[in-house]
Point group: C2
Chain length 313, copies 2
Amino acid sequence: MPFDALPASPAVKVRDVALRDGLQAIARTVPTEIKRLWLQQAYEAGLRELEVGSFVPARLLPQLADTAELVTFAKTLPGLTASVLVPNLRGAQAAMEAQADWMLLPLSASHAHSLANLRKTPDEVLREIEAIRAARDAAGSACRLEVGLSTAFGCTIQGRVDPAEVLRLVRALVDLGVERIGLADTVGYADPAQVAALFTQAFELAGDRLACGHFHDTRGLGLANVYAAWSVGVRRFDACVGGIGGCPHAPGASGNVATEDVAWLFASMGQPTGLDFERLIALRGRLATWLDGEPLHGSIWRAGLPKTLRTPG
Amino acid sequence: MPFDALPASPAVKVRDVALRDGLQAIARTVPTEIKRLWLQQAYEAGLRELEVGSFVPARLLPQLADTAELVTFAKTLPGLTASVLVPNLRGAQAAMEAQADWMLLPLSASHAHSLANLRKTPDEVLREIEAIRAARDAAGSACRLEVGLSTAFGCTIQGRVDPAEVLRLVRALVDLGVERIGLADTVGYADPAQVAALFTQAFELAGDRLACGHFHDTRGLGLANVYAAWSVGVRRFDACVGGIGGCPHAPGASGNVATEDVAWLFASMGQPTGLDFERLIALRGRLATWLDGEPLHGSIWRAGLPKTLRTPG
């Protein structure tokens, strides 16, 4: 049962990032044939943007070593946009070779997190992004660049992250000509007032290029933050089926906002996402088997849709 | 560790309703001496408004039969406001005799829910409220009247509830001269856009008398709805420590928004509530013992406060 007929252009776009952000946090390796089934079923549930993996060295994240294969498979599904995470120029070259539609480049707004995670300062990462953009342009590749500004709302290492620093980086990214910028609450520190304020300021600098909200539900505010971002104009969100993707800095805490919860939030507000509730819940059920023993999260799967949203067929 | 020094007038007021709304949903009877301890510790955690019970016949809700005793105890704690639920004139008389500060009268916006729950139509309930107000005035009682408009955002029996009907009832309550009106999402159907819209319209009719948001987290939108209501001017909310108060129409679903989560939401937004995080979490821990076997809910207890909120002392 779809929440709504698949609209030509959904009011809100949801990118499921479970195959990368979710699986990256889980040590086990899901077989490629299962990932292909997963990807297919996400597509059948109405998802038209998926982050399918990461071009990092296989010795670091063996569970994502089949990323190129998944991009190839994703491109057989009509209208599906495949994103991949790339940490550096080498990864970007792999993404272009694989013909991914988008490469996602992480940039930590927290200096301390940037050093811990990428061993580079934010300004060094900016230079790497510039080199990637130049390489992409030189190669004539159609692969677009999206930068996710991680720890934009706070950092488990550094604590507070100055909004002025986030905005400085947003401006630098606009100047570098990346096609899309997102703000990410990597560790579940954001509150909705902060989300509304920071996105509002970032829109002034980046306009339509600011086009992704990435929230974790570590402390229960995930959906409140999605709503707050939507209320100031954000129309594209990352999420994970089953709410997978626990934060390594918050043991036992839940991870990304659940795709099925985000779909329910927007369906309840009359904002079509093109997603099919029952198929998302069915996929969540399969994840529980494929990831047997890993905690799943989210809310709507438990109580089901309210009577007011149930539609025939 | 307080989120903030107890302000003379908190920016946001939280009333804990666990001793009534929470315990009403739980069959077991908590001994009065435990309830007194619970009430004392809620007070020490900074709560200054508590719903302590309900004046319904003890044969219907034996677990709330000690309500008068709890009101008496609550009134020994300086600055504590004690509310009690009253379903009818007889209950109102008991509330006045007990010298409760506020009596809370439920009024279902759903015609079907009103008949199922109170065996009266909403207009019959309005007449009962009028009789209660007249009796209160005739008695010269200082007990104030608050009406909680339940199922204001939808109903498990009737489905959709027309906002026009909710607003008609709000206007009637203003005309009846009740001191306070709240809108309640009794069954977890509300979405934040609906919450913002309905409170905005109700404020136009009731002004400052509209002074309570009551949300359940049945489908994960509890805190998003609290934020949405706050964003249009609501500054007073019901909540339950430990998120108790499951909805009988949604088995397995969580209940009221958790007091500790609401406190964390507002603390993170820089809106003082006067609540002490560690004491709320400690009380939650005691509830887990006192209500051994009952599911508790909420989010912040699991991951703890972010580094950005941790304050010395």
